[in-house]
Amino acid sequence: MQHVQPPFAGPPMKSHYSDAPAAEPIARHTLAVIVDNEPGVLARIAGLFSGRGYNIESLTVSETEHEKHLSRITIVTTGTAHVIEQIKAQLSRLVPVHRVDDLTVNGDAIERELVLVKVVGKGEARVEAMRLAQAFGARTVDATLSSFIFELTGTSDETERFISLMTACGLTEVARTGIAAIGRGAESM
């Protein structure tokens, strides 16, 4: 097709878009989001995170005010300061979202997670599991001659430590709720 000009002679261009930005420090933030408990609201929130490439480390949701049909979603996410600001702005503009609070920015919030741990074993391992559970203040919620189920509530660090110790004592199954969080002090959302 001779009617077309010769190729451009300048320096080569790589693509239609600008380059990715340089890496910046990543921080972990816990967000509390109050939403209308309507069908699809969780999909909307989760879809926003996947669609815009944000991370979700933990997500918990439950209706907290039944008469008003309001749910509270606690999201633990990671990102650069800029990304965290965008996440909050993007969440805020969703129609069913009433409020977004950054508990990490507002001061150290109470963060708790509940884990259920099933340990199977006999003899010394079983005794050790029991002893460690007591040391952590875990409750024994089920027991058979060869197994225990422990319930522990604590910070993510505590529950992580507990799970890793239990791994050495015959841990076979773990269920975790994800993090629920609330700001300290008299002020409420």
């Binding site: 300048g10 261009m13 693509s15 239609h16 600008s18 999909a43 879809g47």
Partner: protein
């Protein structure tokens, strides 16, 4: 007053109560009850499109040219999925649309029933909000709320998915006292402290520039009037995004032309060199900013936007004002008048001198030809021969779109409709149909490319059926021109699949639809051919055969900064205004 009626009747009644005069749609099994309800009344007129994507674009053209909410009615499954491109387009360009989709009966949802698709799932990411109506009691509220959500805050498309059993169900309809959503209240009034700070910053500027966008158009005609007032009060230069063209008159000496990838040299260099940037209703899109880390490096930035997530999204700003452009501009004009700031006249004079130097570059110049029609020339003539009329212009996507933006001068808002954010080929013809329906006596022209127009060609039938005399002005270069241009610049001139093979004869095609076809390939008869098009009171396809090799300049290459533009070879060479590095690229 409440009345008992079926869900389908409620839908139509709610449209009537919203003052909807026209809807764009296509029937199918899952919306038959609504079509039956439409049949029994004549307040809401239905426009039968030929493809559901066309329905949404037509509604967009209608909305953008009239300021009203555009309404679409399509069936379940393929009807809804065909509408997805249009919905995404409306989301990206912030166009208020209410799209009603049929759905299989509630008891069949999830069973892979005939023509079932998870419409709310599919459209969740391409709508501002969407609803699946599961109870007839919710229907009146949702119908009215959808109009509120679509039009308030940053406008956007809203889908209401209507299962067929809900359309048949009987319930009580009463028009709600208010359309408002129970909690969704976008902030329209700007923070006064920030507006004061913005005015102070503007007053101290030595090299200021207004950078305005589609938000000004969306905020209504009074926002455009206030922008004009503020720009004239301050004496600052103003540039506009593709979406914002017409908010400020293109013929005004303070207007620098469009900015961005194919914007003018003076607009982009003003953006690069300014010390205070005042962004009103634009969103720092990547086609505007070029290389982000080199974007306007010496400026302090003010950003007015109704969407808080737009502020600091791509570019960090110094003063971010969340609010409706009209409200914030009103405050700015009032404050500027009452404080009557002493601007640095000497510095501003020097800044305008710089701008005059950049303008001297004549960045839009092109080599004229007497035997082949240059596409730029075609747009220039189209503009000259139509400028005294009430004219609405839509476009498809590609080189012709950029030439239209560069060479057609828009003096008023809502006259220019183009797919900016999504870049949807096939947008222009259905959008023109929507605009013509809203303005029956105006001249509506779809500036098209020969490749784009084929994507929604079928809508010619719609134009004929409703006697909408839209003009399709095709710049036919037998290439997907922008793809070809990029292949030239990026891929060594290997024109992979960008040649428009096996094109139809557009004149015969127009006649086959019942319209009028005109072909022109000589510059000396172009004016007469364009006049013939204008004077034809029927739909016209104008096949304007243009130079196949022409590229669209100026251009900021990808990953480059505003001061690294490439100019066309006809531009004036006055090398001193750019540095050595920039010169290498020019």
């Amino acid at each position: 007053m409440s009345e008992t009626m079926t869900g389908a009747e409620m839908v139509v009644r709610a449209l009537q109560d919203q003052g909807v005069e026209h809807i764009f749609g296509y029937p199918g099994g899952a919306v038959l009850p609504i079509y039956d309800a439409l049949f029994h009344q004549d307040k809401v007129k239905h426009v039968l499109v030929r493809h559901e994507q066309g329905a949404v674009h037509a509604a967009e053209g209608y909305a953008r040219s009239s300021g009203k909410v555009g309404v679409v009615l399509v069936t379940s499954g393929p009807g809804a999925t065909n509408a997805v491109t249009g919905l995404t387009d409306a989301l990206m360009d912030s166009i208020p649309i209410v799209c009603l989709t049929g759905q299989v009966p509630t008891h069949l949802i999830g069973s892979d029933a005939f023509q079932e698709a998870d419409t709310v799932g599919i459209t969740r990411h391409c709508t501002k909000h969407n609803y699946l109506v599961k109870r007839i009691e919710d229907l009146p509220r949702i119908m009215h709320e959808a109009f509120y959500v679509a039009a308030n805050g940053r406008p956007g498309p809203v889908v209401i998915d209507l299962p067929k059993d809900i359309q048949f169900a009987s319930g009580t309809y009463a028009r709600p006292a208010s359309n408002q959503h129970k909690t969704y209240r976008p902030q329209v009034q700007g923070d006064m402290e920030k507006i004061k700070a913005a005015i102070a910053l503007m007053a101290s500027a030595k090299r200021p520039v207004f950078y305005t966008g589609g938000g000004v158009v969306n905020a209504g005609p009074q926002a455009a009037a206030l922008l004009r007032e503020l720009v004239r009060l301050t004496g600052f230069p103003v540039t506009s995004t593709l979406m914002g063209l017409g908010a400020y008159p293109a013929s005004d000496p303070q207007f620098l032309g469009m900015l961005g990838m194919h914007g003018t040299y003076e607009a982009n260099l003003a953006m690069h060199g300014c010390d205070v940037m005042i962004n009103i209703g634009a969103r720092f899109d990547d086609r505007i900013t070029g290389r982000l880390d080199a974007f306007s490096p010496h400026s302090r930035k003010i950003h007015v936007d109704i969407d808080p997530s737009s502020i600091n999204k791509n570019v960090k700003v110094d003063i971010g004002i969340v609010g409706d452009c009209a409200h914030v501009l009103e405050d700015m004009v009032r404050l500027w008048r009452s404080t009557a700031p002493q601007v640095d006249k000497v510095a501003l004079k020097g800044w305008w001198d710089n701008i005059a130097g950049w303008r001297g570059r004549k960045c839009l110049a092109y080599r004229k030809s007497s035997d082949v029609i240059k596409p730029q020339y075609a747009i220039e003539r189209l503009y000259e021969l139509t400028k005294d009329r009430e004219v609405y212009v839509t476009t498809e996507v590609g080189q012709h779109q950029m030439w239209a933006a560069q060479f057609f001068k828009f003096e008023e808002p809502n006259r220019w409709m183009t797919s900016g954010g999504l870049g949807t080929m096939g947008y222009g013809l259905p959008a023109a149909i929507g605009a013509q329906l809203a303005h029956p006596n105006a001249l509506v022209v779809d500036i098209a490319g020969e490749a784009s127009i084929l994507m929604n060609m079928q809508e010619m039938s719609t134009a004929l059926q409703y006697r909408l005399p839209v003009k399709v002005f095709i710049l036919n270069n037998e290439y997907m021109g922008m793809v070809r241009q990029w292949q030239e610049l990026l891929h060594g001139g290997r024109y992979s699949e960008s040649y428009s093979h096996s094109l139809p004869d557009f004149v015969k095609l127009a006649e086959a639809y019942g319209g009028v076809g005109i072909r022109c390939d000589k510059p000396d008869v172009l004016d007469d051919a364009i006049r013939e098009m204008i004077d034809t009171p029927r739909p016209v396809i104008f096949d304007c055969v243009v130079d196949k090799a022409e590229n669209c300049f100026p251009m900021i290459p990808s990953g480059k900064a505003h001061n690294e533009m490439i100019l066309g070879d006809a531009a004036e060479d006055i090398g001193s205004v750019i540095d050595a590095k920039g010169k290498m690229l020019v």
